[in-house]
Symmetry: C2
Subunit: 397 residues, 2 copies
Amino acid sequence: MKSQQPLDGVRVLDLTRVLAGPYCTMVLADLGAEVVKVEAPGRGDDARQFGPFVGDESAYFMSLNRNKRSITLDLKSDRGRAVLLELVRAFDVVVENYRGGTMERLGLGYDRLRAANPRIVYAAVSGFGHTGPYREKPAYDVVVQGMGGLMSITGQPDGPPTRVGASVGDITAGLFTAIGILAALRRRDRTGEGGKVDVSMLDCQVAILENAIARYRVTGEVPRRIGNRHPSITPFTAVPTADGYVVVAIGNDKLWTAFCDLVARPDLRHDPRFATNQSRTEHWSELEPALEEIFGARTTDQWLEALEPAGIPCGPINTVDRVLADPQVRERGMVVEMAHPTAGRLEMAGCPVKLSGHADAAPNPSPLLGAHTEEVLKEYLGLDEHEVARLREEGVV
Amino acid sequence: MKSQQPLDGVRVLDLTRVLAGPYCTMVLADLGAEVVKVEAPGRGDDARQFGPFVGDESAYFMSLNRNKRSITLDLKSDRGRAVLLELVRAFDVVVENYRGGTMERLGLGYDRLRAANPRIVYAAVSGFGHTGPYREKPAYDVVVQGMGGLMSITGQPDGPPTRVGASVGDITAGLFTAIGILAALRRRDRTGEGGKVDVSMLDCQVAILENAIARYRVTGEVPRRIGNRHPSITPFTAVPTADGYVVVAIGNDKLWTAFCDLVARPDLRHDPRFATNQSRTEHWSELEPALEEIFGARTTDQWLEALEPAGIPCGPINTVDRVLADPQVRERGMVVEMAHPTAGRLEMAGCPVKLSGHADAAPNPSPLLGAHTEEVLKEYLGLDEHEVARLREEGVV
């Protein structure tokens, strides 16, 4: 079955830490790429220190580094850099997510990697990218969520700008980087030449702003926070019920008519203020109290039972415990269990790319720090155990 | 330069509408794939009707469909389906984002497409995927943001669950679909066999929940809304200033010490409650008022001028107008201008995958409905203009 894996044969040397880079290489590993994680001796990926812990292992680290091997290598030593450049010759892809300029300072910039292997695809994911005035500035998720505009359009109309509760600044950058790597590999296979993929977390935030840019450019009005509703589809929001919320997405006038019939409100159906999607959007302040009155009379479960048979797109607002228990989520293999040699079993999100002929297998556990150093150096550089032992004595690995 | 494009030679038959699918094929087209959009005669992609409009053209549609050609084809007619299957023979990829079961009802399910072309990569992006109990249920962005848990962890501690202001339910699914297509093409090139990529918007929401799943599984506590701060890094949030907000991300104890020195607060530096990242997180309710007092004394610009030289990751919360004017965003080519034949010029977000040897060119404008029908049918099926005219008379195109 190994040969069935879509990215079989793609070798990825992974210098990344924490989130954006490890998320990218996790997706590649889930699809069958061979990922070797390169970590600093003694310390490793910063995320190994992030809670919560299971025994001595970070659950955060474990959930981002399945299906990878780990070697240690001191990139600040001459010998460590030399070993890295030897490895680069045997790999297809190098990924890193240091701040811009770091790889050059280490003597490991793209020019140096390309000199070692002209076929290498070098992917850098950083806060602001490797060009432009901010190229060496540090960034974390919340910085780019703020600078990229997403926080300005997320939140309640009378509330503060709001950070998305998951790190979409890192994660979308990880996804675009994976796309860039696969595209560059395709070109490499055709032309024989690798390339540099330069992804900026801030750029990715701009790329996901969606219709906010078009709305601003056409109307001149700066998009603002509008709570849970959609700027141009109505009703398309979360409405309070007797015991929580229900999400309804009435995307067209036919569904609106069906909804008014379902709730026996011919007055709304025939009200010209609510006759079209555009007029419902314009008259939202008058429609909202009517919807709140309607939905407040029943529980969320009762509403879902009523709305679903009528074909009205709807759903609950699930907390994380309910997400993990959802029958669709489980049936799709989106909750996977990893058996870690020291931490035991841990559930985590699976890979959402479902490809025929590529069965979801139980993932290999995240590696202990340096667990595969000897194995990888033997396999790729032909070192023997004495040579690896010497590197270890010298603190290089 | 055409041959330099990373996805040169990849032919994509694009049956998608609105957002998740068109976003996926836009990324592929930006990277050089040849995308032919297949639309219903007379009507086309639903998004052509979504405001805001520039003249008769939807700015929403224009900003998602650059670099694509458009043909019309009635998939509900036998002749239209036959033409589609002939086209499938000449293409590498088919992408659609109908509700689960729709392609089968049209007689165009994967088995049928594969019979026409065993090398085809068929990618379906839908609300819930093509398997499981919800496989035929309709969904829109807000439904999966609610069901997938993201809304439950986005928002202020005392506020309601909050929809992310951009459609990350659609967009992340579009990105995972692009990754699935590129991975399946790689396998196809090696094995000669295509495959089916089945991406669910709900699955993708689960995949981006990040550390919320690990936190729940390890601690048993259901993750809740915590405003703009990070669950385990402190301070890592947006703080009110004299005239707005500033985002600060103090990711380690060294940065904390630097910050206390910068603001001349030795009392905070030496307070054992704030000595480590973990203790700062535990004592957030006591730290927050101190930070608000400090940051309230100066404007956002003054804070950025003070924090940046000290190496403390920080940034403003930009509204969309400021994002588009940001010098880094512009220098990176993240604002591109398209010249549309009837609507004129429109600015939109560029592609965040920056690849060496692949220059960002001004994008080709989004196509008028069916603008390339004759050209594409001549090019791929060898039809002459009389045959195309007959299809047009019959309402097939």
